[in-house]
Symmetry: C2
Subunit: 450 residues, 2 copies
């Protein structure tokens, strides 16, 4: 397999084919590409060009292209399509992807689009999915699945399954339900290959089956599926009826998005932005955190202003404020990041008190090592042992406090049901800057006996 | 499904059962748990307790438990097992998990363990896998797969497949090969359900099949599988022979590890540590970055020492150094993070020059907004317009330079084949601290006409 690479030359060629209406060549070229690659191409075209491309190709392929496209581009392209055309695309998609697209449509056309869908069962399933929160199991699941009744025999099952499998892109498991549609267990495809066709369903199925409630959070579904190495999980409603299933490819997206979000928050970027977004979007995502940092810096300046009388005799103390702020910030980010990651991977054991105690010991160990280094350098540089000692002792205190704050805040937020990831990055560095500089001057002052 | 939750009470109960040698109760209890849950329990036990548990249970279950356990705990437990016992565990595992475990064993016992494996074919497959880099497709793949020869008819295939499927935990695709074992295409399980059994293989299979080379990087395999929504991908050698397959559950782990690593690097934590690791391990992961920060701080102090003559008349300039350093750091982290993420998700289009130009405009916009705020606050606070202006103009310059450095370094590293993620976090904040403070004093000095 030669991996697809969208080069500038290829893009120019496609644009020319579009502007010259070379439909035959365009269709032939697109036939060779995977829909995910065409989606990548469409994201780089203008909206009119992308619309032209979508209208040109068969809806069997364009539906998948649309499902993979960038949300903004897709919305704009759909705006150029009629309700009937959109319905044609939805017809080809699995219910979960179709529902995602419908949920982005302007309210006023949703009903027209839905009523244009010819397969009424499919339309009903899409509407069913619309009521779930997009971050819940219900928002992630598809209605397409293969299920058999526990009261059937294998021969009936095979016939029914063949019919159902026509609508299901990937068959992972065959779910077994009772007459009330309640999930009872599953038949694996392996059983299908290895079992004799004479076996009766009721005696042959695996009754232990992992399932998630339709209101479960997407993040929790991801945790369960990756912990238990599941490739699909059935979704049940409050009374145990089978309502859908979630496949691992959707979970891969959840994991990626979750990781991206935490990473961005740690870097002081809110909202979901990408490098290719506009300067305006990027500013909205970045500026608020910078303003927070600005106010932190003003706070630090105000604190230093309060110690101004020391500047004449101990100017050197002021030279070390960036060092103190940097160390407080670094330690705070390290300790909060490790807590946020532990919470995300659900592998934090033990209580808050234990964590704080451990972080204190850790910060103390790191602090002493760093303080010794700092003491030696500063003493050699300025030849003033007392000042060097005062700065170094302050550094230990600052590091310990920074570590404790960095550990406590995400644990506290998590206990309150707030996403602990917001506590990383600029939030922790800014608060630690202020606390750090305050502690530093207080301790340095008393060590120097001023 | 009630999700499993490892409580302190449960852990105490298990430990008591172990210390009292209540084997019947212990076996009965473990029978109810999923192997991934038992692995979670084992990680919290002492090595002796975990060994006791592993020796107590059937190797059919313990092999999976071992595969899921924390690497450190597993290594210690395996140390307590004989070569024959380890071989028994490996016998039960898929070749990829078995090879991972073998690669952790001390060199001197590897050969003994391998020779104790009764299934010689399995042993050979494990040894084959050992030669691949663990981050490559070869290191991720398993040898277990279902393949049919294109020259067979469907009836032969079904018989062969049934035999092969016995050894394969999950059947995703049936691969079609020629007489030389070269990958020709695949048969989907859906085809199996929907096609008549009379169809001949040679005419019926899908000849377009994505495959990766055995030396492909794990990260790239993850990108391909998640882009094309693949649940399994065949792996071929240099001449196109089918040598294994990679399943999506292994890729989920790759994605998680990759994201964790980037997140940790951004937070200034090297190596793969968790909150529950020892203080010593955590120190080794955190201290180097803190020492880097310390030297950065010393550099900043030295720069400020060089401007000492300004302290008498313009002490206020020194009060703003933590603000300048914080802003330089924040902007640098933001811009580098967005580049690192764009590179990881492979959605950066266009060249370095374009990126730098865009970041410069963005930094200029943000810088001007922040500088106006700073100007107003400082002017109102100190009543000295000239100084406020000098600080604000410097701030703009510092932000623009920080943005450019933050954008350039990861792009540069990436071009050199170095992981750009190391450029985030303390690395960028420290270098930006120094550059920021240097630029700040130079510009402030010339604006104030000193």
């Amino acid at each position: 397999m030669t991996p697809f690479k969208l080069t500038d030359e290829l893009l120019v060629e496609i644009r020319e084919l579009i502007s010259d209406h070379k439909n035959v060549g365009l269709r032939a070229m697109m036939k060779e590409f995977h829909y995910a690659d065409i989606a990548e191409i469409a994201d780089e075209l203008t909206i009119d060009e992308a619309t032209y491309l979508i209208k040109l190709l068969d809806s069997e392929k364009t539906s998948d292209i649309l499902a993979e496209m960038d949300e903004d581009v897709r919305e704009a392209v759909l705006n150029n399509l009629s309700a009937k055309e959109i319905a044609g695309e939805l017809e080809e998609l699995d219910t979960d992807d179709a529902a995602d697209i419908v949920s982005e449509l302007p309210q006023e056309i949703v009903q027209r689009v839905i009523s244009e869908i010819e397969d009424k069962e499919h339309a009903k399933d899409i509407v069913d999915l619309l009521r779930y929160d997009e971050d819940s199991a219900g928002g992630l699941m598809a209605k397409e699945l293969v299920k058999v009744n526990e009261n059937w025999n294998v021969l009936t099952c095979v016939k029914e399954m063949r019919a159902q499998a026509e609508n299901v892109t990937r068959v992972h498991s065959i779910y077994v339900v009772d007459d009330d549609d309640k999930l009872k267990g599953r038949l694996s495809l392996k059983d299908l290959l290895t079992n004799s066709t004479k076996t009766h369903i009721k005696v042959g199925y695996i009754s232990k089956v992992d399932a998630v409630n339709v209101n479960e959070k997407g993040e929790e579904v991801a945790r369960i599926m990756s912990k238990y190495d599941l490739e699909a999980i059935p979704v049940v409603d409050e009374i145990g009826r089978l309502v859908g299933r979630i496949t691992i490819d959707d979970i891969v997206d959840v994991i990626r998005e979750e990781a991206d979000k935490d990473y961005q928050l740690a870097a002081g970027i809110s909202q979901d932005v990408e490098a290719d977004d506009s300067i305006w979007e990027l500013t909205r995502a970045r500026l608020p955190w910078l303003i927070l940092g600005l106010f932190g810096g003003l706070g630090a300046a105000a604190i230093m202003g309060g110690f101004e009388e020391m500047i004449a005799k101990h100017a050197i103390l002021f030279f070390f404020t960036p060092l103190i702020a940097a160390m407080a910030g670094n330690v705070g980010v390290q300790s909060s990041a490790i807590i946020v990651q532990g919470l995300a991977n659900d592998d934090l054991k033990g209580g808050i008190a234990n964590r704080l105690w451990k972080e204190m010991l850790l910060a103390l160990l790191n602090g002493i090592i760093l303080a010794v280094l700092l003491l030696l350098f500063t003493w050699l540089w300025k030849g003033d042992f007392n000042t060097a000692l005062a700065i170094s002792i302050s550094l230990i205190a600052v590091i310990v406090v920074a570590g404790i704050i960095g550990t406590f805040i995400p644990l506290f937020l998590n206990q309150r049901g707030i996403d602990p990831a917001i506590a990383t990055g600029p939030f922790i560095t800014t608060s630690n800057d202020i606390f750090g500089i305050l502690i530093y001057f207080f301790i340095a002052k008393s060590v120097l006996g001023i």
